[in-house]
Amino acid sequence: MKKNRQKSDGHSLSDRLANASGIPKDVILGFPILTVTGQTELSLENYRGILEYTSELIRIQTKSGRIKVCGKRLQVEYYTNDEMKVTGRITSIEYD
């Protein structure tokens, strides 16, 4: 529990290492990169897989947690090993 809090506060060893070395965190820690264009497009990198997909909800598993994208008429434009793109009307993006 303590370790978890440390992680979320951003004081873990690897986090500090990343800070010190200046290497981007998505490379070292495998953080996901979300690029949101307006409310209609979401590009996602560094993920592991889709957990759930309906037209109102997409749940994505990443190395550092799960991301929940809610919206309407959600559609996956493309889905490859490295990147996916979601279109539709996005109402919320949550981190579990």
């Binding site: 592991r48 889709i50 997909y53 959600l74 559609q75 434009e77 493309y78 889905y79 490859t80």
Partner: protein, 427 residues
Amino acid sequence: MLLSIIRYLKGYLKIQIAGYSPERFLNACSHHNIYLWGLRSEHGRYEMYISIQGFRKLKPIIKKTGTRAVITERFGLPFFLHKYRKRKCFFLGSLLCIILIYMMSLFIWDIDISGNKSRTDETLLSFLESKDVVHGMKKSKVDCERIVKDIRKEFDDIIWVSASIRGTRLIVQVKENEDSVSSDSAAPDGSSSATDIVADEDCTITELITRKGTPLVHVGDSVKKGDFLVCGRIEVLDDSKEVVDYQYCASDASIRGKAVLQYESSHSLTYEEKDYSGKAAGEFFVRIGPWLFGCGGIRNSFEASTMFSEEHTLTLGKHFVLPFSYGKRIVRSYRPEEKTYTRPQIEQILNSEFSRKCEELEKKGVEIIENDVKIYTENRQATAKGTITVVMDIGKQVPTERLEVPAKPDDENPERDNANGNDGDSD
């Protein structure tokens, strides 16, 4: 855009996935590097697009994840060709089209000439034609280096030529010598032929500016045609004003003179007017090479007739003239009527002729200061006759006559020097 074309060429499918865990299926696809796009989830069913290659790798994944995949639609060229595989003419046609395009690309369809200013395209094209470089010739027979050499050899004023083939087009770029005029006038200098300026009209000199040579006349002098105005031979005098040598140069001067030009123009008083109210016959025709095919008839028994012909030649591009032309010909019969001009009409005709002549003169830089042209009407014709007094540029170049340097004074010179010396002594 490019991606969708590639997809179309390779072919792709729209599939529907149903089963326990479609998400697992998606993850497995991405794990196996199978590209999916256009995912849509509706009522627990998933629709998506997948390439043919991807679909072939799908079998183990479907088995593993326990889902069912159904092809709902097929897109792309492979399916299109398969659908119409029985249409043999279609394939034959496409094959023929490819062969034709290939064969057409073996010939020169357009000769593009650029950079020419004083030489027209037609001049260069007809020259190329004489060297067997024509529209429609085989590309493999074009020898660009030969063309370049030939053009350079034939046209002195073209100083640079480039010939290249781009596609089915032969591009000839030329560069003309822009100061060819000055080099022309410089040519006599170079060939050491000195020139005089002689009068080309009887006139009175009104202006004389000599730049090179010895002026022989003065402003106000009257000269006859053929008189020398400026001499290109300059005498070199010694102390005793005797000629010891001649220097030759090409004379250069601006000379204007007042001259009287004769003008006469006559016009018949009667003329024939054609009354085209009679019958006419016409036909359309097509000309293929030397053969002419007409539909309709223009044979007639008209006493007097005029044929009006209109012909359009088919061309490919700008200069490639095909041996096809079409047009129409009309033969109209007419009744000739002899008519006479009234006095004002004939005056107007002669006046307009005269003013056209004046305009032509003015264009040449001739200044008209007086005209004394009158119209005389006789029985059958009217004549405009008289003189025009003008101020115009005078002079034309002729080669200078070369004179032997007078030998006598040269021989006597030393003696005279001696004599002078003697005189000095005696003084």
